[in-house]
């Protein structure tokens, strides 16, 4: 047992209440109760966490403060030093970001006949996708349908989703699974069953989870990376976008990429640009730890905004209910929702449950906050972090001994390194920032309002509304990565690029100055700073 003495008493209560809890049914909340819980305890609703944007397309809209500060900042690379006549490479489609959506967009764009360059800030494949654990979702079981998937997704998003995008997601997700299956992604399958995993994800009414152990994202990224490499698509690693390039007709015409290793800016000229830059977790919204990878700093949002793209839902952040709360070395790391799908329960310091574990993420996260902050029934670790227990040994009780070790090999390994065997002991969890619900608004082919600028994946917004359902993000990447990739390649055949320009960057700077906002901050941020005292993981409750 690796848990300190101070945490043992609550574990004993948890073990005592297990039998009762096994048969305990907790009803789901009605709409009024849901709204109240969110208002009272969801971190998005705390005072002072948002502010109004004062410049740009979304002027007047509320955005989380950390993002607003970057949207309203000067360019990282002074446009005056960028020589637009020196073109590093010229392609039909420039994809920026090489996670699930970016890799998919590059593959489909290439296969549609476009010349493609794929730029990424870190390595090919480095992304939030890599860290996805529980699975992607598609309505492939016999008793399911895209219409039910649509309805679940709309409801999960509190009906704020853009309907056409949800329809595209629901309709294309089965195709995405087939595509990945054909590429050899070894989804877990019961050969005797028509069902994907015979469990429900949070907020979903039918079994939809197509998973590879607890490392679905990693498994898919490895395959898609190989498919990009095999096509000899030009890949530009450690090449971070710092601004988009437009032309004199206002079309998106490429990007300025900063080589992170040499600090040299390069210009890529392109007929179409697809932003697939992912999420924002490493901005540490409200000081929360994050489940996200190192590079999730909202770069795509910043450069798109400067180029005139409309964004949406900038005040809506998803906090995953179960981020790791102990040990400190693993703070914020994701514990998959599928643990709850298989029966793990959330338990407070008195050994009691307090929420139906398979409600949508915003509700379960809020309930965890309520239990700790509101009702003061959390468990405290030696460093002061508080959380609640996730009673994972129930998984083996319900599904047979060995299920935990077989189904969650990565998680098991991760905790075992710190002497926690979560087949036999609970895990301490607390909400961690996980996903940016909103982003660049697009149509159902990924087109933004800036001509020839596309967005796909987490950087795009609207398909999930104000709360994403678990599993829908992976599906989103492949559905919209494919649509944007194909459409961009087709579009590239029809257009000619005019004279390249960074005038929009100058104009944006004028607007900042006029609004009194032209301070020291430059953006995009590119990487978080964890040097010196910041090396100790921060947390907020």
């Amino acid at each position: 047992m690796a848990y300190p003495e101070s945490m043992q008493a609550s574990i004993e209560k948890l073990e005592k209440s297990r039998e009762y809890r096994l048969n305990q049914k907790i009803p789901i909340l009605d709409l009024e109760e849901k709204n109240q819980l969110l208002k009272d305890y969801h971190p998005d609703y705390r005072p002072g966490v948002h502010r109004q944007l004062k410049v740009g397309v979304n002027k007047g809209d509320m955005a989380v403060v950390e993002l607003a500060n970057l949207l309203e900042a000067r360019s990282k690379v002074d446009p005056k030093i960028v020589d637009l006549s020196r073109i590093e490479t010229e392609v039909d489609t420039l994809v920026i970001g090489a996670g699930g959506a970016g890799l998919t967009a590059a593959i489909f764009s290439h296969d549609e006949g476009a010349s493609v360059a794929l730029a990424t800030k870190l390595r090919l494949g480095d992304s939030n996708t890599t860290m996805a654990e529980g699975g992607m979702l598609a309505s492939i079981s016999p008793g399911d349908s895209p219409a039910l998937h649509y309805l679940d997704t709309m409801g999960g998003g509190n009906f704020t989703n853009i309907p056409e995008l949800v329809r595209a997601l629901a309709t294309d997700s089965p195709l995405a699974v087939k595509w990945l299956e054909g590429l050899g992604v070894p989804f877990d399958r019961d050969p005797n069953s028509d069902l994907p995993l015979p469990v429900l994800a949070g907020g979903h009414s039918r079994p939809r989870i197509c998973a590879v152990g607890d490392f679905t994202g990693m498994s898919i990224i490895q395959v898609l990376r190989a498919e990009v490499e095999k096509r000899k698509i030009r890949v530009m690693e450690f090449s971070a976008v710092v601004d988009l390039v437009l032309d004199d007709k206002g079309q998106c015409a490429g990007a300025v990429l900063l080589d992170l290793l040499t600090q040299v800016p390069h210009v890529v000229k392109a007929k179409t640009v697809i932003l697939a830059t992912g999420g924002i977790g490493r901005l540490h919204i409200q000081g929360f730890p994050t489940t996200n990878h190192y590079g999730a700093t909202a770069d795509g949002l910043v450069v798109a905004y400067r180029a005139g793209a409309r964004l949406g839902y900038l005040d809506s952040i998803q906090f995953h209910p179960t981020g790791t709360a102990y040990p400190d070395q693993l703070l914020g790391l994701l514990v998959t929702e599928v643990s709850r799908s298989r029966g793990a329960q959330l338990v407070d310091v008195d050994g009691e449950r307090f929420i139906n574990e398979l409600q949508t993420r915003d509700l379960v996260a809020s309930a965890n906050v309520r239990q700790v902050i509101g009702r003061k029934k959390g468990i405290t670790t030696p460093s002061g972090m508080q959380g609640v227990w996730l009673d994972t040994p129930l998984i083996d009780t319900l599904h047979g001994e060995g299920t935990v070790q077989k189904s969650y090999t990565h998680l098991y390994h991760r905790f075992k390194r710190y002497n926690i065997d979560f087949a036999k002991e609970p895990i301490l969890i607390y909400p961690a920032q996980h996903y940016q619900n909103g982003g660049i608004i697009t149509d159902d082919m990924g087109r933004s309002n800036v001509p020839n600028l596309y967005a796909a994946g987490e950087v795009a917004g609207g398909v999930h509304g104000r709360n994403r359902l678990g599993g829908n993000s992976l599906s989103d990447l492949f559905v919209f990565g494919r649509r944007a990739g194909i459409d961009a390649a087709q579009r590239a055949r029809e257009i000619t690029v005019g004279r390249l320009s960074l005038a929009h960057v100058h104009d944006y700077f004028q607007n900042l100055e006029a609004a009194g906002l032209a301070g020291e901050t430059t953006s995009p941020q590119l990487l978080p700073d964890y040097r010196f005292d910041k090396a100790f993981p921060k947390f907020n409750q």
């Binding site: 009906f159 195709l175 992604v185 070894p186 399958r189 009414s205 395959v223 390194r417």
Partner: protein
Amino acid sequence: MEAKQDADMVPVFFYGKRYDVPSCLTVMQAFEFVGYQFTRGCGCRGGVCGACAAVYVHPDSNHLQVGLACQIQVVPHMHVIQVPYFPVKKPGYDIDALSPTTEQLGGIYPNIYRCVACNTCTKMCPQDIDVMGCISHVLMGDIDWAAAASRDCVMCGLCTSRCPAEIPQYLIFLLARRLTGRYIQKPFRNIPKRLEQIAAGEYEAELDELMQMDLQELKVRYQQLQQDKQII
């Protein structure tokens, strides 16, 4: 707030240079604590991407030790480096045109036949995979054995960096997993039917209806569906 327990300061050696760091930090955090800002050598920070693979020696042991810098705590007196990249040839292949056999894998990665069974690869694996066992099974034709046993591979490349036969173990295992997923495992049985139904427009009417429904009615429908969750 910071998760900062009272920790001793311990000596560690980064690329041979001594620093004193808090003992509670991971290797990655310790590098950052002394002032490094990673570009190479840092990816997911969660143990799945292989970017941060670290190799170290320790005065108490005659063996090289390995780990993912984001996952392992510093060990006092460790002499550690990272190996963020090691060159390897990546022949392209068409998954549609392959079959799960030793000959196919060996045709793409011929160095596999030079394996001398030294087990260096297994010793270098930060994920405790039986790397040599996987290679042996591939050579014997048990592609799905290797696929299953290599599932935790994060493709860090440490194995191939020290292989005297220059075998790209992690690439071979990726192909083994793909061949297993594509040719040995049975596909999801219901997908072809569902795709037919979608292509035939079977769901268009219902989707149209849901898209045009007024919000109140949509909420009611949703609540009904949520009360009717089924595993079917």
